[in-house]
């Protein structure tokens, strides 16, 4: 029951923000703008979904932004080589998952802290991307991909739909399957999980692979929306994603967090950005407000937990 109240809290926070922005500038409330927010945040949203499960097992993945950039470059390169779209997309998500696998194996088999491993990969993959793109962006021209992603179903863009479908999928995995229970168990008490015969390494590595996979998918949306790929793309994605996950009620100590919370957390950040931008507030204030929201949401969460 406490959890439910917490969920309401997040929703209330989101609705209050929407109402405040709406009152100040009615243009904000136009359905097209609200759907816009969903579309614009689908990329960081998908990255945050992967980050959520990583944080639930008590890990962290700082390499997400670099993986997104790298996968984007791979995809753009493949498309300029006229490789069929489906094949290019598949290779892109495989590359993303592969980076996740490296993260997971180094953390669990190499027994190096997640922070260090993913910090290292963040730098190495960024460097790799700059190297193979010669630090230039790769343009794919007017593309099939762009038109597919901009297709709208009932007014919702394809990008946003992918985000929603992935959210539902991961929510199902976490809440309805034993796999999800194991993830929560490992995050809550890794030692006890081991003593109960859960293959901690295996499940943890899978989690990092999923995070990499999500980055691969996010990079597809990124390339689609820019019609090009940049080696410098995705900077600070790791921090935005962590912020969304934490606002969504996860604990960096592991064992806590939910896809629903992250979904709302992403929207809260998106609404702030879009709202302030529409109100023509300089971006400095956005940073201040986001910082404030992160701390307040954790504070509310803490009060409900200790009470």
């Amino acid at each position: 029951m406490l959890k439910k109240i917490k969920k309401y809290n997040l929703l209330v926070m989101l609705l209050v923000l929407i109402i405040i922005f709406g009152i100040i500038n009615p243009a904000f409330l136009q359905p097209s703008n609200l759907l816009n927010i969903l579309t614009q945040n689908s990329i960081i949203g998908i990255v945050s979904l992967g980050m959520t499960i990583v944080i639930i097992i008590g890990g962290i993945d700082l390499s997400v932004g670099s993986i997104v950039a790298f996968c984007g470059l791979v995809l753009a390169l493949l498309l300029t080589l006229n490789i069929p779209l489906i094949a290019a997309l598949l290779i892109t998500v495989v590359v993303g998952s592969f980076f996740g696998l490296i993260n997971g194996v180094l953390i669990k088999k190499g027994k190096i802290p997640a922070f260090i491993v993913t910090l290292g990969l963040m730098s190495a993959i960024r460097g790799g991307g700059l190297l193979f793109s010669n630090s230039k962006s790769i343009s794919i021209g007017g593309s099939e991909l762009n038109s597919i992603l901009n297709t709208k179903l009932f007014g919702v863009s394809f990008s946003a739909l992918i985000f929603i479908v992935l959210s539902i999928g991961l929510w199902y995995l976490l809440k309805k399957t034993y796999w999800g229970k194991y993830i929560y168990a490992i995050g809550g008490n890794e030692k006890a999980a081991r003593f109960n015969g859960i293959q901690v390494s295996k499940y943890s590595i899978i989690v990092y692979v999923i995070s990499g996979l999500m980055c691969g998918i996010a990079s597809i949306l990124l390339v689609g929306s820019l019609n090009s790929a940049q080696p410098q793309a995705g900077q600070l994605y790791e921090l935005t994603a962590i912020a969304a996950v934490v606002i969504g009620g996860a604990s960096l100590a592991g064992g806590k967090g939910s896809i629903f919370g992250t979904f709302v957390g992403v929207l809260i950040l998106g609404v702030i950005q879009n709202g302030l931008s529409i109100l023509n507030v300089p971006s400095y204030y956005q940073y201040i407000l986001v910082g404030f929201i992160i701390i307040v949401s954790v504070l509310i969460d803490k009060n409900y937990n200790t009470k």
Partner: protein, 313 residues
Amino acid sequence: MNNKKSLLKALLIIIVIGLIGYFVYQSFLKKDSDSGVVKIGFLVPTLENPFFVDMTESAKNLENEKLKVFIQASQDELKQNQIIENFIAQGVDAICIVPINSESIIPAIIKANNANIPVINVDNKINLESAKNQGAVLATYIGSDNFEGGQSAGEYIAESINEQGKVAILEGVSGNDAAIKRKGGFEDVMKRYPNIQIVASQAADWNRQKAKDVFDAIMTANPDLDAVFAANDEMALGVIAAMKNKRIALDSIIVVGFDAADEAIKAVELGELNATIAQQPKLMGAEAVRLVLSIVKKESVKDSYSTPLKVIK
């Protein structure tokens, strides 16, 4: 506990109903209060660089009760596109863009086109060929002509070395539009002076460190060099660093940069750098707004306008 829960539920329901009501109200009520006001969205890469601060402030200074300018900045390709989407949602009448990337901005321009909002390209040029292929349309372009800037630098150098001697060029990233134009303008002027010889022309990628290394090699090959044109200030400062390292008197070689960056202007004042070519961001910002007003009044405009350059020496 139960009270609290039902209170929250009630609150939620009230909020949801309120929101729905508001939507309905919005859709019935046509806003006409802001008709006649021209709203311009102005997107630049950053407001940490004085160049763009000058540009946007001069645009903002033109604001009055019939004209509003909204300024946003981002150095991230995706965010730039999102800001344009937000401008569209906001219902602006025109959008001025200084793109961070000449390609990735195109999908956003197409969205503006679809919303019938004219887009004015300022300063950094959008890749016109790519835009054409994808069906994006620009209302007009305003910016400095890099070719002209290269010419100004050439004139200055020719004058400074009495129309004779050996000169070198440090180019920007190969293939970059500005790099090609600046070099082209400079070479165009040099052709007119038969006694001036271009002994070296190499790319140093806009980068100070690289310029230093490249210039080291040029000086070794040509110890009697008279002047060097660096296609941006970073590279010009790299040249000066290389000269200082080799203990070559700074006044023995004429060095000209481009962009009038703060550091370069200081170097000019100190007498280390001979000159830098300044674009005029204030003029660009103000001209962009004036062009918008012409476009909104359905007056015809040219495809491209250039703002003059100044030599700071």
